[in-house]
């Protein structure tokens, strides 16, 4: 068990700066998800921690030891790769045993630990088979078992579920959470899928443009985004941003006046599910354009102040396209954003 400290890491590819002085601390036993769109630097950061990539500047410490210049095999890590990287020319048993064999563990030790990891991931029936005959989900289990078998101080996972189909992904996510909880290994989990990050992580670090925009518990990041990007990236539908002008600390929206934390150009961040439907004339005026019944809820697309907004309504709501409604909001759940910097400036 170990903690990970990423200290002011910079990575440059030629003139392009992929990581701009990123710092991050992952506590012992914690699972942190690096979440962000492709190209945000999350995979690069993970590969630097693994030692597969060398940082241009900065340090990486694992369990207090500076591993910045060590080869991957000397860092005490295990990794699960995006395409599993399960060796096709070895049986499942040999795959899971690979790390142990490289450590020159005794035969009995290898057998015991492989069997334990196999039991954890429910792959005992396939131990004698070659990976070519396994499905994607089974290969995924082998990859995880191989990583856990070496009892690593740190487990790194690079989009491990992205190659599975949707249903299997959901199933594996739940199972992965249970397995990782039991193993209690310090884990960094890279993903671009917000539901994975929300469901699995103790904390989420949202990355954008080579920086960490916000790090915090999943619900905290969701409810109180630190930047416009975080609010827009998390949540489905994404947070709505309404450009407004604030005078003397107040914004007037139809018959509702809201207290704004700044004057001038501001943006109001509103989660689609945080608005309640009300008759026209009360609350924020909302013009419905498209109504999409999604089963568990109804998705309304329309305009607030002439700007696109998506509102989540209960499945029983009776709304027709073209209708004008009012929206009631809880000021405490609103996010105010500085239109210029894109950073949150206050709530309510």
């Amino acid at each position: 068990m170990a903690d990970i400290v990423v200290d002011q890491v910079v990575k440059e590819f030629g003139s392009h700066q992929a990581l701009k002085r990123v710092s991050l601390t992952v506590n012992d036993g914690e699972l942190v998800a690096l979440l962000g769109p492709s190209g945000c630097g999350k995979t690069t950061l993970l590969r630097i921690i693994a030692g597969l990539e060398t940082q241009t500047d900065g340090r990486v410490l694992i369990a207090g030891r500076d591993v910045s210049r060590l080869a991957p095999r000397k860092r005490g890590i295990a990794m699960v790769f995006q395409n599993y990287a399960v060796f096709p020319h070895m049986t499942v048993f040999e795959n899971v045993a690979f790390g142990l064999r490289m450590k020159k563990a005794s035969g009995a030790d290898v057998k015991r630990k492989v069997e334990r990891a196999a039991a954890l991931l429910h792959i005992e029936p396939y131990l004698d088979r070659y990976p070519g005959k396994l499905s994607g989900g089974q290969r995924q289990r082998v990859a995880v078992a191989r990583a856990l078998a070496v009892e690593p101080a740190v487990l790194l996972m690079d989009e491990p579920l992205s190659n599975l189909d949707a249903l299997l992904r959901l199933e594996m996510r739940t199972e992965l959470k249970a397995v990782l909880r039991e193993a209690g290994t310090t884990t960094i989990y890279v993903t671009h899928d917000q539901t994975e990050a929300m469901g699995l992580a103790d904390r989420i670090a949202v990355m954008y443009g080579g920086k960490i925009d916000q790090i915090g518990a999943p619900l905290e990041v969701y409810a109180t985004p630190a930047t416009r990007f975080v609010g827009g990236f998390l949540g489905s539908p994404p947070m709505n941003f309404i450009k407004l002008r604030s005078k003397e600390g107040t914004v007037q929206l139809g018959s509702t006046s809201l207290h704004a934390p700044a004057n001038g150009d501001v943006e109001l961040g509103l989660r689609g599910e945080d608005a309640g439907l009300a008759p026209e004339g009360t609350g924020l005026p909302f013009q419905v354009r498209v109504v999409e019944p999604m089963g568990s809820h109804i998705l309304l697309t329309g305009a607030i102040e002439g700007q696109l907004a998506r509102i989540v309504a209960p499945p029983t709501a009776q709304v027709r396209p073209g209708e004008r409604l009012g929206l009631t909001v809880d000021p405490a759940r609103l996010t105010w954003i500085d239109a210029e910097t894109g950073r949150a400036i206050g709530r309510g």
Partner: protein
Amino acid sequence: MTVMVSETAAPVRPRAMALPSARRLLLWTGLAVLIAWVLVPIYFVALGAFGGRMGVFRWPKSIWPSDVSIAPMQQFLAIEGVFNALVNSCIAAGFTVLFSLLLGAPAGYALARYSFRGQNAFRLLVLLTRAFPLAILALPLTVSFIRLGLYDTPFGVSLIHTVLALPFAALVTQSLFMGVPREYEEAAWVFGCTRFQAFVKVVLPLALPGLAAAAIFAFVISWNEVFAASILTVRERTLTAYLLKILSESPLHYRFAGGFILIVPSVLFIFAVRRYLFAVWGIASK
């Protein structure tokens, strides 16, 4: 009713089967002619090789094998120098395989896995060899080979044959190594391997069939080469050099026997690597 008719009129059949029968006949006839075109000369040289002295002068000849026996081939192999030439050919081809893979595979790996300054210059050097009639380079090498004691040895011949096979080996192994996902190697590093261990444990086993194909190609390149082998040997001739030398003075049936021995391994080799043939040449001709 019309719907029914059109449904039965459009049976579900593979596309090629749906070719009009006249065109299919044409296709099969054309292919049969082409296949005969390839096989007939081989068949006749085999008849010549096993027909012996009498077979060569029989007139008119029958296209069916008659009086064919193993004896003429045994006689041919018993001629002084023939067996030695056969051995020399094998030695030269063996060394060519060894050198072209030992030199070419690391270069192929470098091209597949790294991007480095001078990469394009190296690629150009490799491709440049193809615009040159390489065997001709044996001409100036005669003098330095005599000085180095390499002249008239199968080893010396294999060096110039390696120049022929090396660019090929480098390009083929490059694509082989590119076909082994980088992730496999990275996984091996993470789980405790050094770079070399990862190569031996993971990359090599996965690239092995392709490497075998590349080796066979190198063998055939050396086995078949005539010009450089003839220039660089006098007594320790390879089979091709030996046959070229005796062309004007030996009886026809010996020439046919020699030609047949040259052909046999090639045919078997092409059969062995047929799965790789197109992939390999697709790469090497880029």
